[in-house]
Symmetry: C2
Subunit: 376 residues, 2 copies
């Protein structure tokens, strides 16, 4: 069985700079082993984490296309000073696509129950016509679920569930979330409603406020409003949220959240403490939509933390059984709580079209692309 | 018994701005109770944390003195926008001086063994001629120890010991420390030598490199050197330090440490990981020598944390017995490991001298003032 795979390769050029190449590689797949299945990939989303692998630190605004059809490729320069950040992948051709869904078209002897079923998979190499997978890695979707409905079963749903689980593990009782109108943010609104967790949503535009209010969100703060900090402090005082998840990473937002948490905590404070409130305030950065530096004014006392949050170590932390329970909840609620919305569907060939690439590379909240390998 | 106390008061003025006043208050002390002692305070250091209480957010460059002798006071304006940060202390006259040492001149019936002994005390109100204290709060110093030798038994020694204990508690095996030529930094060098803990010292001047090398420090990096980041990365690779304590707080230093830790960890890394190394890198900010915002370039993957670190919650975390063991180590080694050095000794009256106040308020590494109440 032949398949195309969308791949990303980083090379150092003679001049000291580097070059990134995106291309469709054609490879032969073996027949699936006894515990394996062959999946015809029907739908795979482009998440920000996929763009990290696809684009690396390349300057995509200078990308150029060459070739046509199966031979088309995209090349973009990597500035010399950023090349060390990808030293470990130099010369390697890496297939992309963290997650997706498709139909099992061939099953090994011990996986015959999956024949013809629609399954979702996390594990890379999903921007491809076909993929071999271990049967036990596949998440079986309920009958009637389409591959498109099941394409985003892992990254966003498990991250949203992970935020609530982290809240419980670390002794907080309410959450703050930025970029809250994203697919992930909408899932989090629904999870928190179902689980009774107070949630403060931060968005940047009025129509995003409307969208989340229509979903039933109680607290939605617009960071573009002049009274944003007052809105946020009131919402944090009402919910007592002391844990935030920030998808943007850069700029002042993470520090503003900590500052508003401190101001909210100080409303309850008794005697003056020169070190600020003793309430521990935590923000985790789980994305990098804003690549500018993070700036903290440190107007939030001494009881605070900021850190990175990533799904795989979180899943390792809670253990296999707890992680599997989360996955099964996603499968059960994939068309309700965990429903995703896509701006556009593109074929494998179209991923290498410069104008389409510029669109899916923008990572704007509310703009989400789905790769449908067999559509083009 | 009458005593003077150096006090700080914040008031809101009619115009919306605020005002800070420093003054010597005269109060009557009662006779010590059965479990109490009366200490004649002989020496109390001015730590950065004392300046927080003394100066608050006032603009001390605009401070003005009035009155003479016992009636002298210092007034400085507080900008209107900073006044909310001290709302909880408005109108309160707060005695200052976190720690110090002196001689027990009167002891209650159940504390007679302390009569005439030199003791150290943490608990505030130490910029005073005399202070009443519970006997069990006093740290009895070894015979022959002077009050000046014992003046700084708590804040710096316990913070330095707390860094090593935190390292063990959180699973790290080596440390990084900034402002490393300070009294605290020199203690940490000696503790780490005695306890076999690899330590990377960061200083800003060549003479501080020399000072620490003379103490036997192995790794000293000068942040003013053009190759600072290379020095630091080499030292972190050699020591495998993944925990840092930063006294400065502001600027890029905390982020530079995390970035160098990541670069050091990547030297050992096997296959490329798009999220950076999986080694957890942590920096705690325990001071605010640089009040500018903290800036993070986030070139250190996703396995990182930054947070505030404060002595009292640390002591609460390890529990009373462990904390007492640390205190007793300090008392035993107060003239060796935990010896402090002072730039100048000033009287209570001199704390209100504008030119002296400007000097002790600078918080420069290596400039340390000792208040000797009875010297003036």
């Amino acid at each position: 069985m032949q398949t195309r795979q969308l791949c990303s390769t980083v090379r150092s050029s003679g001049s000291g700079d580097g070059e990134l190449e995106l291309s469709l590689r054609e490879i032969d797949l073996p027949a699936p082993g006894p515990e394996e299945v062959l999946i015809r990939v029907e739908a795979a989303p482009i998440n920000p984490s996929d763009l990290g692998l696809l684009f690396g630190p390349a300057d995509m605004s200078s990308a150029e296309a060459s070739g046509e059809g199966a031979g088309r490729s995209i090349r973009a320069p990597i500035p010399e000073k950023l090349l060390p950040t990808v030293a470990a992948r130099l010369g390697q051709t890496l297939p992309a696509g963290n997650e997706g869904a498709g139909v099992v078209v061939e099953a090994g002897a011990d996986a015959a129950d999956l024949q013809g079923r629609t399954v979702a998979l996390l594990g890379g190499e999903m921007y491809a016509d076909y993929r071999i997978a271990k049967a036990k890695q596949c998440l079986l979707l309920p009958e009637g679920t389409t591959p498109e409905q099941g394409a985003s079963c892992f990254v966003n749903p498990l991250t949203a569930l992970g935020m609530v689980e982290t809240m419980k593990l670390e002794g907080h009782s309410a959450l703050v979330h930025t970029a809250a109108a994203s697919n992930l943010g909408q899932m989090l609104v629904k999870i928190c409603q179902a689980d009774g967790v107070p949630l403060v949503n931060i968005v940047r535009r009025d129509e995003q406020v409307t969208l989340l209010k229509e979903l039933g969100a109680e607290y939605v703060c617009n960071s573009s409003d002049p009274d944003f900090m007052a809105q946020l402090t009131d919402a944090l005082a009402a919910t007592k949220a002391t844990l935030g998840f920030d998808a943007t990473g850069g700029g002042e937002l993470a520090g503003q959240i900590l500052g508003a948490m401190e101001a909210a905590a100080s409303r309850d404070a008794g005697a003056f403490s020169r070190y600020g409130s003793t309430v521990h305030k935590q923000v985790y950065i789980y994305g990098g939509l804003d690549r500018s530096p993070t700036t903290l004014k440190r107007n939030f006392g001494m009881a605070w933390g900021l850190g990175g949050w990533l799904l795989p170590p979180f899943l390792a932390r809670i253990g296999q059984d707890a992680a599997q329970a989360l996955r099964e909840r996603v499968a059960r609620e994939i068309t309700t709580t965990f429903a995703s919305h896509y701006t556009d569907r593109i074929s494998l060939t179209e991923t290498l079209d410069p104008s389409i690439l510029a669109a899916y590379g923008r990572m704007a909240t509310g703009a989400k692309y789905l790769v449908c390998p067999h559509s083009g």
